[in-house]
C-alpha cells in the first residue's frame, strides 16, 4: 500500500513549496509564470498518476480532460468581463468529470495496452471535435479576453490577473490536490484501487465491483485534470485544440514515468525536472552561461548556439539516461536515500477469545450444469449438492473440467446451461463480485494475493469487502468490525503475528497460500471454493492446512479441488469425481475409494495401495 511520504520526501516538497512562496519576492514576471505553469502541470500529472500509478490504468488520453477544462473557461467567460472562478472551477471539473464518466464507462472495459489505445482514441476524437469544427474558434484556438476573478457579489477576493496572487492560488491548489490524492489513496476506496492495480481478478472475486472502482478513479482524475486545464487557460487566456491532443497526453505520461509512477509526489518532481531541463536546453543564453563555466565566452556562446539549435538531441539523451539509470524515476532515486518506509502500527486488537459458535454456513446446489467453449464441452451436465458445514473435495484427472467447474460457480465464467443455487437462490450467470457478495469466496490455483501489500493489509482489503461500496472514503466506518475480522482471520489461518506486517511478496509460498485462505475468512465468505490449496506445500504444511480446513468447516462450507489424494481422502466429508466434464461419482471418501469406475478412470493402483 502506498505509504505516507518519508521525512526526506517531505523535506524536499516543503523546500520546493518554500521556494515557490518566496519566488514573487525575487523572481521576474517570467519566473512567476513559469513556476505557475509548472504547478498547474503538477496538478495535471498527479491526477494522471492516480490512474497510472495507483489504479494501474495507463491513460493516453488524459489531456482530453485538461483541454476540456481549459475550454470550459472559454465557454463560461463573457467576452469582455471576467468569469467568476467560483463558478468556473466547478464548471471545469463538472464538464471534464462528465465527459470522463461517459468515456470511462466504455474505456475501463478494456485492459492493459488496449486501454491505452482506447483512451488515445477518445482523446483524438476530442481533439478533432475542436480542431475540425468551428466550436470555440476551431483550428486557430480561442481567446479568453479577461482572466477570471474570485468574487462574491461585488466583492473581489482574488484576481488571476495579479501574477503573484495567481501563483499562490495555484500553489495552494497543488498542495490541496496532492494532499487530497494522498488521503484518497489511503482510504478504503484508494486501497481497493491499489488492489485492482496489482490483482484485479482477486478484487473482483472478493466482491468488489472493480468496474465501478476503476470508473470512479477515472472520473476523479478527469475532474482534477479539468481543474488544472482551467487554471492553465487562465495563465494567458489562450486555448488551442492541441491542448487535448496526444502529444500533451504523452508528455504527461513522460513526466509521470520520469518522476516515478505510483508515488504521487514523483510525477510532480518529474514535471518540475522535465520543464526545467527542456527550458534550459532550448535556451542558447542559458546554455552559453552553463558552458562558460568550462570555457571562454566565445566558445561558450558557440556551443550554446549549437546545442540550443538541436535541443531535442540532448533532451532525448537526458530522458534515455533517466530511464536507464533510474528505473523507478526520480522518486525511486530519492527513496533510496530515505530508508525503509514506516508502516502504520497494527491496530491493538485482540481477537475475541470467545469460542466461535457453530454457525450454519451455506449450501450450494448445482443442477445439470453445462459450460462449453465453442465446440468443447468442459462441464457436461453436472448435478451435485454441497451441503453446509462440510468439506467437499473435487478430484479428477487433469482436463476433467474441475477448474472450469469452479470458475462457473464463482461467476468468473458464465454457465452455458443449468442452475446454480446458493441457499436456494439462483446465482448462475451473475458477475463474480455479486456472487462474492452473497458469501461465496474463492481462491486460485496460482497464488493470488496482492503482493505489494502486507498480509494484514491484504486481509483488511478482504474485510472491507463486507461493505464493498465504492463510495467508502472513510476509515472509520466499520473500522472495529473489520479490524476484528482481520485479526481473527490471520489467527485462524495460522499466520504468525510477526509475519503479518511483511509484504506478501516476501512471504513463503506456503504462507501466501495461507494468506489467501485468511483473506477469504476475513471477507466473511461462508462458502469457500479453493482451487488446489495444498499445491506446492510440503507434508508438514499440508498437515497444518488440512487441519485448518477441518476447523473452518465449523462455520464454513468448503469446496476444494485437490490432487494430493492422501490429504483429500483424509480431510473431505464428500468427494466428487469429475472425468471429461462429467460427474463420475459422488460420495464419501470410502465409497469413492471402493468405486470401480473411479479406480479405472483415475485412481489406478493408488486406491488399492492405500486400502488398509
Amino acid at each position: 500500500m502506498l505509504a505516507r511520504p518519508r521525512p526526506l520526501v517531505i523535506v524536499v516538497l516543503l523546500a520546493l513549496a518554500a521556494y515557490a512562496i518566496a519566488l514573487p519576492f525575487f523572481g521576474g514576471a517570467f519566473a512567476l509564470k513559469f513556476a505557475t505553469r509548472v504547478m498547474i502541470t503538477g496538478i495535471f500529472v498527479i491526477s494522471l498518476d492516480l490512474l497510472i500509478g495507483v489504479t494501474g490504468l495507463v491513460s493516453f488520453g488524459h489531456a482530453l480532460y485538461f483541454g476540456l477544462g481549459a475550454y470550459s473557461l472559454y465557454f463560461i467567460s463573457p467576452t469582455s468581463a471576467p468569469a467568476n472562478a467560483f463558478l468556473a472551477i466547478p464548471f471545469a471539473m463538472l464538464l471534464a468529470g462528465t465527459v470522463a464518466l461517459v468515456v470511462g464507462s466504455v474505456a475501463v472495459l478494456t485492459r492493459g495496452f488496449y486501454f491505452i489505445m482506447v483512451t488515445l482514441a477518445f482523446g483524438q476524437m476530442g481533439f478533432s471535435l475542436f480542431f475540425d469544427t468551428k466550436i470555440a474558434g476551431g483550428t486557430d484556438g480561442a481567446y479568453i479576453n479577461v482572466r477570471p476573478v474570485f468574487s462574491l457579489g461585488s466583492w473581489q477576493l482574488l484576481n488571476f490577473q495579479n501574477r503573484a496572487a495567481f501563483l499562490y492560488f495555484c500553489l495552494a491548489a497543488l498542495v490541496l490536490s496532492y494532499l487530497f490524492l494522498l488521503w484518497l489513496v489511503r482510504t478504503p476506496f484508494g486501497r481497493v484501487l491499489q488492489g485492482i492495480h496489482h490483482n484485479e481478478a482477486r478484487m473482483s472475486a472478493l466482491g468488489f465491483n472493480t468496474y465501478a472502482y476503476k470508473l470512479a478513479s477515472y472520473v476523479i482524475a478527469g475532474a482534477l485534470a479539468g481543474f488544472a486545464g482551467m487554471l492553465f487557460a487562465a495563465i494567458d487566456g489562450y486555448v488551442a485544440p492541441e491542448l487535448l491532443g496526444w502529444r500533451e497526453s504523452g508528455l504527461a505520461i513522460m513526466m509521470v514515468v520520469l518522476g516515478g509512477a505510483g508515488t504521487l509526489y514523483g510525477p510532480l518532481l518529474g514535471a518540475i525536472v522535465y520543464s526545467l531541463v527542456e527550458e534550459t536546453l532550448k535556451s542558447a543564453s542559458e546554455l552559453s552561461a552553463f558552458f562558460s563555466l568550462f570555457t571562454n565566452a566565445a566558445n561558450a556562446k558557440w556551443l550554446g548556439g549549437i546545442f540550443a539549435n538541436s535541443w531535442s538531441i540532448p533532451l532525448g539523451l537526458f530522458l534515455i539516461a533517466g530511464v536507464l539509470a533510474a528505473p523507478k524515476g526520480i522518486a525511486g532515486f530519492i527513496e533510496k536515500f530515505a530508508g525503509q518506509p514506516k508502516r502504520s502500527k497494527p491496530p491493538e486488537i485482540k481477537p475475541e477469545v470467545e469460542q466461535r459458535e457453530q454457525a450454519k454456513a451455506m449450501q450450494l446446489e448445482v443442477e445439470n450444469l453445462v459450460r462449453a467453449f465453442g465446440g468443447l464441452i468442459a462441464v457436461n451436465g453436472v448435478s451435485v449438492k454441497f451441503s453446509s458445514n462440510k468439506v467437499h473435495g473435487i478430484i479428477g484427472p487433469n482436463g476433467a473440467g474441475k477448474t472450469t467447474f469452479i470458475n462457473v460457480l464463482s461467476g468468473a465464467l458464465r454457465p452455458t446451461g443449468g442452475n446454480i443455487r446458493l441457499e436456494n437462490e439462483e446465482i448462475g450467470g451473475q458477475r463474480p463480485h455479486n456472487v462474492a457478495r452473497r458469501g461465496l469466496g474463492r481462491s486460485y490455483q496460482r497464488t493470488n494475493v496482492i503482493l505489494p501489500f502486507t498480509a494484514r493489509e491484504n486481509c483488511a482489503l478482504a474485510a472491507q469487502a463486507r461493505f464493498p461500496s465504492p463510495l467508502r472514503f472513510s476509515n472509520s466506518w466499520h473500522r472495529r468490525e473489520e479490524d476484528e475480522a482481520v485479526e481473527r482471520a490471520l489467527a485462524a489461518a495460522g499466520i504468525a503475528p510477526e509475519r503479518a506486517d511483511i509484504r506478501a511478496s516476501n512471504l513463503s509460498h506456503g504462507e501466501q497460500r495461507q494468506l489467501e485462505i485468511a483473506m477469504l475468512i476475513a471477507s466473511g465468505a461462508k462458502l469457500l471454493l479453493l482451487d488446489e490449496p495444498l499445491a506446492g506445500m510440503g507434508p508438514e504444511e499440508t498437515g497444518r492446512v488440512t487441519a485448518l480446513l477441518r476447523e473452518l468447516s465449523a462455520d464454513h462450507t468448503i469446496v476444494l479441488i485437490e490432487h494430493d489424494m492422501d490429504a483429500i481422502f483424509a480431510a473431505a466429508d464428500t468427494l466428487t469425481v469429475l472425468v471429461e466434464g462429467r460427474l463420475l461419482a459422488h460420495g464419501t471418501p470410502e465409497e469413492i475409494r471402493m468405486n470401480g469406475a473411479v479406480r479405472e478412470a483415475y485412481l489406478g493402483e493408488w486406491g488399492q495401495e492405500a486400502k488398509p
Binding site: 480542431f131 476551431g138 483550428t139 492541441e242 534550459t280 552553463f290 533510496k336
Partner: protein, 398 residues
C-alpha cells in the same frame, strides 16, 4: 547483480548538485546594461514541419541587418531565438519566455497561425511592437487587430481572392475546392469563393480533408466523377508536394486544371518535377519578378546562403525593412511607441514582391501574380490582381 544498480551517495550528491545548477539557470539572467543592443525576439519554428520556413525568414532578416551594418535605426540588433516548434499548446509559454523572460524590445513571429494567435494575445496585452512574417490567420488583422501588431505576409483569404479572379479571367466557370479542412484552408476558400462567385463562377462541391491527413485518393476520385473545369486547393509543404504528385498520377492534370494559392507550390517546385507542370497559383511573389529590389535581393541572398530565396525569405526581408523604417523614425528608441507604430503603419516601400504598404488593420496591400509551374519553376504569367487588400472586418483600428 543487486550490487550493480546501487548508486553511491557521492554520485547522488554530484547529480543533485548538477541538477541544482541547471535548475537555477532559467532565472539567472545577466542584468541588461543601459545602451545595450535592441533585443529582437524571434518566435519561429526551427524544428518540426515548418522549420524550413523559420530558417528562410531568419536568414533574410539576418541578411537585411548585416547589410545595414548590424544596426537598425542606429541600434545594434541582437536576435533572441525561441523555437516554437509550431505547437500551439506550447505557444503561450514560448511567447512569455521572449516577452517576459528575455524582455525583448520587439517581437517577430511566426509561421503557424495558432501559435501566432497565442503570441498576438500576449503581445497585445504587453503592447510590444510585433511583426508577423508569415502566419495568415485572418483574425490577426481583422477582429483581433491591435495597433502594435503588424503583418508583412498576407491574410489567408488574399491569395484566394486573387486566384478566384484569375480563374474567372481564364474563362473557368465550374470548380471544385479540395482543401485541408482547418482554419487556413477554410479562409483561403473563403477568399476564393468571394471573387470566383462574384465573377459568375460555380462551385460544384467543397471537399475537405482533415489536416494534416495526406491520403488524397478519395477526394481525387470524387473530383474525377464531378468533372469540373478546375480545382482550387490549399495545401502546403510536404502535403502539397504529395498532393500534386497524386493529382498527376491519377491523370487528373490532363483534364482538370489545378489552381491554388502560392503555398501549393512554394518550396516544393523542384521536388514536384513533372507532376507539378501546369499547376497555377496566385502569390504575392514570383522569383522572376522584374524589379530592382528583387534582383538585388536574390543575388545577395544567394551569395550569402548559397540558395535562392523563396516567398518566406521575402516576407522576412520585408519584416526587417518595415521594422527598420519604424526604428529610423524614432531614432532607435522603441519607448516612443506611438511614433514607432505610426511610422510603420504609414510605411510604403518597394519590396522584392513589388510595392508594399499596409491597410488600416495593418495587413499588407500588395499585388498578386499568376504563376504557372513549369519544370520546377514558378513562371510568371501575369499580374493577377493589383493592390489586393483584406477586409478589416471587426478591427477597431479601421
Amino acid at each position: 547483480m543487486h550490487n550493480k544498480s546501487r548508486i553511491t551517495r557521492r554520485d547522488a550528491l554530484k547529480l543533485a548538485g548538477a541538477g541544482a545548477a541547471v535548475a537555477a539557470f532559467p532565472f539567472a539572467r545577466p542584468a541588461i546594461a543601459q545602451g545595450a543592443p535592441l533585443k529582437v525576439g524571434l518566435l519561429l519554428p526551427y524544428s518540426g514541419t515548418f522549420a524550413a520556413l523559420g530558417d528562410a525568414i531568419t536568414n533574410a532578416m539576418d541578411l537585411y541587418v548585416k547589410q545595414q551594418g548590424g544596426k537598425l535605426g542606429g541600434r545594434t540588433i541582437q536576435w533572441v531565438k525561441v523555437d516554437d516548434e509550431s505547437k500551439p499548446e506550447r505557444a503561450v509559454e514560448n511567447t512569455s519566455k521572449l516577452v517576459e523572460g528575455e524582455k525583448v524590445d520587439v517581437l517577430i513571429g511566426t509561421v503557424h497561425s495558432g501559435v501566432a494567435m497565442a503570441m498576438a494575445k500576449i503581445a497585445r496585452e504587453a503592447g510590444l511592437p510585433t511583426l508577423i512574417p508569415n502566419a495568415g490567420a485572418n483574425a490577426l488583422t481583422r477582429s483581433q487587430c491591435a495597433k502594435n501588431i503588424f503583418r508583412t505576409s498576407f491574410g489567408n483569404s488574399q491569395p484566394g481572392v486573387a486566384a478566384g479572379k484569375a480563374m474567372i479571367d481564364a474563362g473557368i466557370k465550374t470548380a471544385v475546392t479540395y482543401t485541408w479542412g482547418y482554419a487556413a484552408g477554410e479562409e483561403s476558400v473563403e477568399g476564393f469563393k468571394q471573387s470566383f462567385l462574384a465573377g459568375g463562377g460555380k462551385i460544384v462541391k467543397e471537399i475537405r480533408l482533415p489536416f494534416p491527413n495526406v491520403e488524397f485518393q478519395a477526394g481525387l476520385a470524387e473530383i474525377a466523377s464531378l468533372k469540373p473545369q478546375a480545382v482550387y486547393s490549399f495545401y502546403a509543404g510536404g502535403g502539397a508536394l504529395k498532393y500534386m504528385k497524386d493529382y498527376a498520377a491519377a491523370g487528373l492534370n490532363k483534364s482538370v486544371q489545378l489552381w491554388g494559392p502560392g503555398f501549393l507550390t512554394d518550396g516544393v517546385e523542384k521536388a514536384a518535377g513533372e507532376a507539378g507542370n501546369g499547376v497555377k497559383t496566385a502569390s504575392h511573389y514570383v522569383d522572376t519578378l522584374d524589379n530592382a529590389e528583387n534582383k538585388k535581393f536574390r543575388a545577395d541572398y544567394n551569395a550569402a546562403f548559397k540558395v535562392f530565396p523563396d516567398v518566406y525569405a521575402v516576407q522576412g526581408w520585408d519584416t526587417t525593412h518595415l521594422l527598420d523604417i519604424g526604428l529610423k523614425a524614432v531614432g532607435g528608441d522603441v519607448s516612443k511607441k506611438d511614433d514607432l507604430f505610426k511610422a510603420m503603419r504609414n510605411a510604403k516601400f518597394n519590396s522584392p514582391r513589388g510595392p508594399f504598404r499596409l491597410s488600416a488593420s495593418q495587413n499588407p496591400i500588395h499585388n498578386f501574380y499568376l504563376r504557372e509551374l513549369k519544370n520546377g519553376e514558378n513562371v510568371f504569367v501575369k499580374v493577377a490582381a493589383t493592390d489586393v487588400s483584406d477586409p478589416t472586418t471587426g478591427c477597431s483600428l479601421a
